[in-house]
């Protein structure tokens, strides 16, 4: 046997011949070593070998023999954090925390010290999808971003994530960070064809592979239609999907599941499957797919598509658009398009399912909506929901990608067939790119008119959305696309038609910004063009036309809406961005005539929460020691919502946030929650927590009044005690008193979302573009957000920073390239999410607003900041070059040919 020294412990073990060090360490239950890509690109698996940092996914395990291996678990000594861990703690240099182990192991290494003067270079090999890298830089510069946790002052304080130490020492358990006796492994065969009918699957060779336990195809699984999308109301998504189907409609669709004793055997089984296909004609372009003779994606036996491949058409008109255009002095018309991008949450999808000693089915998963997953699993498997337990522990990023049930069903089905043995399905990065979901590609034609003074008179939009092979989130994202970006402006005459169309592309899905991002790009570019035609300043034309209290908040429909101004801060946001851009930040344009400089801005509006149903519950109890326990169904995937929920509860009952323990996202242990998506973590789940904490306070005060005989209105909570008149009773004592009379100090409340408040974001960009190479350098990035009172300012800024960074990625670096439906670049080295070097520093500002609808004055903050980024860049590019670039992304090879002429 070979000897390995890991974090000072000696192991005698023999790695498999082709095993990499990453999985070898994880086999030793050293789970701090993460997998973001398994290909050397993301750095989440960084460990030290004899003190030098390596990406352990690329190191043959046998090379670790007789060497000293250090992982994140081995960095702290005697329980004292390493200075870099402490710096990451103080700066809160993570959100989901999945990249943190690799970031820390990289930046704490001796070799890093000679590179750290140049962080863009030094951090080439560490990707973070959540933070936008600002807090990472803060940590490396020794900056603290946290405040003290003071009883009664939790709300509004920048408190650290309660799981910080666990995350930074590798102890926090993400979905796959668990060893179970008898674990089986599941792998799927994915379709090599964009459109085909399976005529035969020969599993003989596959089942003969040693270690294979089972092979499942469409013939084995329940033939029940469903949608992978998670929503409270499942009827908003079309039931057009089978767990496994005999027709494949996109390259990457799963065809068969192979379950084996090892991942290697499962992979071998997948390779040994023989599938015969009848290749069907395929269509990838949604406009072509709308033609009458286009290949049909779904036939009427399965899903009724009355209009061919058009899954859904939304249209409407308010006022009289034709008349409005007649009144216009200037009319702009152009077609804009946005690209297909992927969430790239650093933790891939993955689920483990098994039968527990309670004879129920347990699913450990990485999801934004465990309760909705449970409902769908119950439907698919034909068992009562109470027999299924779905839960998350720590989730490594979501961004909408985990508002989808794509990894839970097959492991659960397999364990049900296999007597309850644990079955694990861990996705690869390639699985994410070819088999998960993407932002919907949309093309938007905008026609917009205004009078000389800039007053809008008419708006006419035409949207085509490509939902790919399945319609999950198709109509909802189209609805969002047709909604707030146009409702943001007062205009008496608005009209729109939107189609969402099936094609043989990878399915679209929910993605931060949710359809509104795509049409915000079009609308905000069009506003600048219109301003240019009229010779009006771009900020001024927005100031003139943006909706304000008293206006109808309406896009192209006049139906009553429950959106309402609980606060209003767009005026402040416009002012801030305008002032900051004018003031400048001292960063000069690079020298030389080849660099053109320009400034641009854009706004975005968000209705805080989905227009469809959404609900959350919370429960709270006083514990015998006088502290509290809070249970809330909401998922934490790096959005910081558990921190915020603790703060909301703590502020109501007047304690420190740390005195409120929390459990979340567990169908057995928390009340129901639709899911953490659509900007609901604060305004719905947070509202449930708020109501629950108020009920807790009332319950304690009521009991204390009875117990002490002091009037209820003379009783008040004071940290760990209740003050009744002039008597101070410790909560622990009160709890004991309650126990004697069977008073349990346990409360629960539910929240529903209506009305929905309105939030705004404004992005300003000053950039330089090189006329020859097409390189873009962001010189100044300013963002102002109207998010109400921040529950945790640091976290809110983190969400904004992360969303803005994602916006830069969408605009400048990311692009899923497909050839006949096959993704050309399904690796992180070829699909570039922003690295440190790509991510400009953004000056963030918060409007001073206090919302009357959201809990404790707060509004949604994590989603909408992405929306104005791409159009602000486009507007800056237009200002710099005189050229309107209307199609994302703005990579230099797509720009250069239009740049060569000097102005």
């Amino acid at each position: 046997m070979s000897k390995f020294e890991v974090n000072g412990h000696l192991y005698s073990a023999e790695p498999r011949p082709g095993q990499c060090l990453r999985t070898f360490l994880r086999d030793l239950e050293v789970f701090g070593v993460k997998k973001g890509c398994d290909a050397g690109d993301c750095g989440a698996c960084t460990v030290w070998i004899d003190g030098k940092p390596f990406h352990s996914c690329l190191v043959p395990a046998f090379r670790g023999e007789d060497r000293k291996i250090t992982t994140i678990e081995g960095l702290a000594t005697d329980g004292v954090l390493h200075p870099v861990q402490k710096a990451f703690h103080d700066a809160q240099a993570f959100q989901c925390g999945y990249c943190a182990a690799g970031m820390v192991m990289t930046t704490a290494s001796a070799a890093f010290q000679e590179h750290k003067h140049d962080l863009p270079h030094a951090l080439k090999g560490n990707l973070c999808r959540c933070t936008g890298y600002r807090p990472v830089q803060d940590a490396l510069h020794g900056k603290s971003n946290i405040e003290e946790d003071i009883a009664g002052k939790a709300c509004g304080a920048s408190l650290p994530n309660p799981f910080t130490d666990a995350i930074l020492t590798g102890k926090a358990r993400y979905t796959m960070d668990i060893a179970m006796e008898g674990m089986l492994h599941l792998k799927v065969l994915r379709s090599p064809h964009a459109h085909a009918r399976i005529t035969r699957i020969d599993r003989t060779k596959a089942t003969a592979v040693p270690g294979i336990v089972a092979v499942y195809t469409w013939e084995d699984v329940p033939r029940r239609l469903y949608s992978t999308a998670l929503h409270e109301d499942h009827l908003v998504d079309p039931d057009d999907t089978y767990m496994l189907d005999n027709v494949v409609r996109f390259a990457g669709q799963r065809i068969a599941a192979v379950v084996a004793e090892s991942e290697a055997a499962a992979e071998a089984g997948v390779r040994a499957l023989v599938v015969d296909y009848e290749i069907l004609p395929a269509v990838f372009d949604p406009v072509a797919a709308m033609e009458p003779d286009a290949p049909r994606l779904h036939d009427k036996n399965e899903v009724v598509t009355q209009n061919g491949n058009i899954f859904c058409t939304l249209q409407g008109e308010i006022g009289d658009v034709a008349k409005g255009f007649k009144e216009a002095d200037a009319v702009h018309e152009m077609t804009y398009s946005t690209s297909r991008v992927q969430h790239v949450h650093l933790e891939t999808h993955g689920s483990i399912a098994w039968k527990g000693e309670d004879n129920r089915w347990h699913v450990r998963t990485s999801s934004q909506g465990p309760f909705t997953v449970r409902t769908k699993l119950a439907h698919l498997m034909g068992v009562p929901a109470r027999e299924i337990h779905v839960f998350t522990e720590r989730v490594g990023g979501g961004f909408g990608g985990k508002q989808e049930m794509v990894s839970e069903d097959l492991p659960l089905f397999a364990t049900m067939k296999l007597g309850g043995r644990p079955v694990k399905w861990e996705w690869t990065r390639e699985d994410e790119f070819i088999g998960a979901t993407t932002r919907h590609q949309m093309t938007t034609r905008v026609r917009i008119g205004a009078r000389k003074d800039g007053t809008l008179t008419a708006l006419d939009v035409h949207v085509v959305s490509n939902t790919g092979a399945y319609g999950n989130h198709a109509s909802e994202t189209l609805g969002a696309a047709m909604g707030s970006p146009f409702a943001a402006y007062r205009c008496p005459n608005k009209k729109g038609v939107g189609h969402v169309v099936y094609t043989n592309m990878i399915p679209g899905g929910g993605f931060r910004g949710y359809g509104a991002s795509q049409t915000t790009f079009a609308m905000e570019c069009a506003m600048n063009e219109l301003a240019g035609l009229l010779g009006i300043d771009p900020v001024e034309i927005r100031r003139k036309n943006v909706v304000r209290p008293g206006d109808n908040i309406e896009s192209i429909w006049q139906e009553p809406s429950d959106a309402s101004f609980g606060s209003y801060g767009i005026d402040q946001c416009l002012e801030i961005v305008e002032t900051e851009l004018k003031k400048g930040n001292g960063v000069a344009k690079p020298a030389g005539d080849d660099w053109a400089e320009g400034t641009g801005m854009a706004l975005a509006m968000l209705e805080c929460g989905p227009p469809t149903e959404h609900r959350s519950g919370a429960e709270m109890k006083l514990l015998p020691d006088g502290t509290y326990h809070l249970a809330c169904g909401s998922s934490e995937m790096g959005n910081g919502i558990t921190t915020a929920h603790k703060q909301i509860a703590a502020s109501i009952v007047g304690v420190r946030a740390r005195d409120v323990d929390i459990i979340n996202a567990d169908t057995d242990r928390t009340p129901y929650d639709t899911g953490t998506f659509a900007s609901t973590g604060t305004v719905v789940a947070g509202k449930a927590v708020h109501l629950t904490a108020q009920a807790m306070r009332d319950d304690i005060l009521d009991f204390a009044a009875r117990h002490s005989g002091v009037d209820r209105d003379k009783c008040r909570l004071d940290n760990d005690a209740v003050v009744c008149g002039n008597k101070r009773i410790l909560l622990a004592e009160l709890h004991a008193a309650g126990a004697k009379v069977n008073h349990r100090f346990t409360v629960g409340r539910k929240a529903y979302l209506s009305p929905r408040s309105i939030a705004f974001n404004v992005q300003g960009v000053r950039l330089a573009v090189h006329r020859v190479t097409g390189e873009i350098r962001i010189l100044h990035s300013v963002h102002a957000a109207d998010i109400g009172r921040p529950i945790n300012p640091m976290q809110c800024r983190g969400q904004l920073d992360g969303a803005v960074a994602m916006g830069y990625g969408w605009a400048l670096t990311e692009n899923m390239v497909h050839d006949e439906g096959h993704m050309v670049n399904p690796q992180l080295r070829n699909y570039r999410i922003p690295a440190f070097a790509d991510t400009p520093h953004t000056d963030l500002f918060l409007a001073d607003t206090h919302d009357t609808i959201g809990p404790l004055g707060a509004k949604s903050q994590g989603e909408c900041a992405i929306n104005p980024v791409a159009p602000a860049i486009a507007n800056a590019l237009a200002a710099a070059t005189g050229v309107r670039f209307a199609h994302l992304p703005f990579t230099p090879d797509r720009l250069y040919s239009k740049l060569s002429a000097r102005p």
């Binding site: 082709g18 095993q19 750095g43 996914c57 690329l58 043959p60 990289t106 890093f112 097409g774 690796q827």
Partner: protein, 276 residues
């Protein structure tokens, strides 16, 4: 990632221990590419680490770089003062998409035999007129004599080279004459510090003669243009056009072919102007 098809790792300490070569064998150097993708056709890895080759050997004739030389060793190399091109080592290493951590594992030879258009060690060693020494596999029929191939000819296309089955890149020799030349290097990428869309190096003798322009990344394989004397801007552009028609550029997600052609002209001219 795990290479689950691998059944055996051979760890020879001398070349004659390798035995019969088979199609499902692969040489393992740093492993940074091998372990980054599934290798479904490979069953056996032959680890070159145990051969114990000295990474770098500097002599009066030049620098011998073992194929197994870690990138970090090349990065840290300090040559004699008259080798004016040594700073180009770091410039090319910095052009890698990969981080300094990968330098600890990745090898110079591994990057060359990967033969990707953007292989920065191909750019470096071809620009410095490097010559590969290839060891035949002992069971080859040609008598087992090593052969020498200039790096610029070693790479024949995207992910293609002249290696025969079982043949092994032993080392790359950079002649002192090339190491002593003046140089200029330019690189462009679609993203900041991203994979090269073009990486172009020019070298010129101390006396201003023998201008050598090496175009990489924008073309599937390195392309060299040699001029006895420094060309004019027009001459350079014509020479590029003669060698590289529009279809000769390499299109991928790191840059369209027309873009790569466009920046090749631009960077080449900058290099010419700098060295003129």
């Amino acid at each position: 990632m795990n290479l689950n098809t691998i059944e055996e790792v051979k760890r020879p300490t001398s070349a004659d221990q390798i035995g019969q070569w088979r199609d499902d064998y692969a040489w393992l150097a740093g492993g940074t590419w091998l372990f980054s993708e599934p290798q479904a056709a490979t069953r056996t890895l032959i680890d070159l680490d145990g051969l114990g080759w000295a990474p770098l050997t500097a002599t009066a004739e030049g620098l011998e770089i073992a194929a197994t030389c870690r990138v970090v060793d090349l990065h840290d190399f300090k040559g004699p003062a008259e080798w004016r091109a040594v700073p180009l080592f770091r410039a090319c290493i910095d052009a890698f998409l990969m981080s300094f951590k990968i330098w600890n594992a990745a090898t110079v030879g591994g990057n060359i035999v990967m033969s990707l258009p953007a292989g920065a060690m191909i750019s470096l060693t071809s620009a410095l007129e490097g010559v590969c020494t290839l060891w035949p596999h002992p069971n080859q029929s040609n008598g087992g004599a090593p052969r020498e191939v200039p790096v610029v000819d070693f790479v024949t296309g995207n992910h293609r080279n002249v290696l025969r089955p079982g043949e092994l890149l032993r080392s790359i020799h950079l002649p002192a004459s090339a190491l002593s030349k003046r140089h200029a290097m330019r690189q462009v990428s679609l993203t900041h510090l991203g994979r090269s869309a073009a990486l172009i190096v020019g070298t010129v003798g101390q006396d201003g003669t023998d201008f050598l322009l090496t175009i990489t990344a924008s073309t599937p394989r390195p392309v060299q243009l040699r001029f006895a004397a420094m060309p004019s801007a027009d001459e350079l552009r014509r020479a590029i056009d003669e060698r590289l028609p529009p279809a000769a550029y390499f299109a991928d997600v790191h840059g369209s072919a027309p873009y790569k052609r466009h920046i090749t002209y631009y960077l080449a001219e900058q290099i010419r102007a700098e060295l003129a």
